[in-house]
Amino acid sequence: MFAVFRDLIRYNAEFTIGLILVGIMVVFASLSFFAPMDPSLIYMTIPDQPPSAQYWFGTNSRGQDLFWQLSAAFKNSLIFGITVAVLSRIISITVGLAAGYLGGWVDRVLMFINDIFVSVPIFPILVLFYFVLRNNMDSFTMALILACFGWPFDARLIRSVALGLKHREFTRHAVFAGMSTRKVLLEEHLPYVMPIVFSTFMNNMLWSIGMEVTLAVLGFTNINNPTIGTVLYWANSHSAMVVGVWWWIVIPVILIVMTFLGLFLLAVSMNEYIDPRSRLRRMGA
């Protein structure tokens, strides 16, 4: 495990950059545990102060120190992304492995459901959820809804790997040795799909945080809970760009781009790690 890590850092610049970017964001986000004030309170400092030694990222028109505000926002958004990714991974591993190994009508039914979930446009449905739930829609409810829609692409990917594993020698040995189906899937097949699970984990986080940003920017979430999206929502509703409080928009956008690029690079480089041909090409063999 450690050797893999070292090789990735040495030979894969994308992985290194991604790791550094995500590392910075994780440290920044965890700083919010030491925040001197509750990030949801307003008018705690002088409003509209540009970035300075005292306020590193400036303060916004609601009298919040943007440094601590953004730190809390990124913490909440990252936790949100991880929740969605973990929940949807559970569904996609179960469906993917079961469909691939069991085959037959189970496979056909599961893949049919899978195709339906791929095709339904998620955004109108999310807006509908907000429309009927209004302020009852907290970030955990939203994470649950997104997890219900975030699994099908990856389930198909896992299934295609599981299909190949099914006819391998060791699977037959395990079955003859009397292993139950559940055990075969969890102990024999799961380790093979773990690299895919990790790389899709990042992609899924990107997708869910992006969805959250979009909904929040339109004001379709609990806007008093600081997240990446709600910071932008408040900046927009105070017309930050027009009144000249540019740091309220520019700094969050830079941080968002850093986070997304970092996660994306990690996902891409993990994908390369899964495919040994491209790994060899990079190492110059």
Binding site: V120, F123, P124, F131, L133, L206, V217
Partner: protein
Amino acid sequence: MQGYLYFVAKRALLMFAVIFFGVSAMFLVTYLSPIDPVEQVLGRLSARSNLSPEAIAATREALTAMFGTGQPMLTQYFNFWTRLLQGDLGASLMAFPTPAMELVMRGMPWTLGLLLSSTIFTFIIGNLMGGLAGYFQNNRFFKAFGIVTMGLQPIPYYIVAFIILIIFGFLWPVLPISGGFSMDVRPGWSWTFVFSVLQHSLLPAFSLVLVGLGGWFIGMRALVSNIVTEDYVTYAELAGVKRDTIVGSYVMRNALVPQVTALAMTIGGVFSGTIITEQVFNYPGMGSLLVDAVNAGDYSTVLAVCTVSITAVAFAIFVVDLLHPLLDPRVRAE
């Protein structure tokens, strides 16, 4: 021919399943929600004006009849489908008494135009560049192009649209950033109107293309760089087949088959992106309508937009799937 018909039938079944599932999910969400649409509308009405208790009672009755709430679930579900098939989802509340469907149909051409043009552009440019980058792996231009598009790809639609809005709205105002056409142009089939529409659609479409390019580029490059190592390509090169023919008909064409399948799978996501982009650029399509309807608490219009978008996306996926056999003769022969 029979294989083709079988394929079409299978895809049509999927389309109807998607519509059925999506609409049923919509019904369930609204049915199980703790909030009653009638009370919500009443709350909005009485917040703005003083109504007598009798008037409120009468309105409540009228609204209950209109939404069909208060009946058993299955009856409501059945009624919902009947009304849907008739294309009647009730009157919109924010533009009373215009039917909600009419509002949706007004926004539809804008959204479709934006979605179609940006999807086609993205697909063609992304795949062409990706294919060439996969074939000419040491070309500097394609490498740089790849880095730029891959850098843009993970960023959410909203942020990209927003950055473009800031650049073209504040820093370098050359293109219109809001609306579907200029205020002083009369809608119709005149040259000025068409020009104005095109001009206004440039920035929204551009932002959609920017986000979409990376995915196609990466996918196509990976596919092509695998195909290039196949024996038949080496054989064609040794046999002296022209390079254009190899790239065009031997490599790219084969790589295009999985990409068309992927196209069908991404339409739902692109549709969500279109809705968001419309909102940023204040474009008069279904996305802006949806946001306005939610903010106005307009129950019928929200439902109408959701239904129409689910149906439209399912149909679009069906159409793209029909293209599949044209590229892949195996599907026809099956």
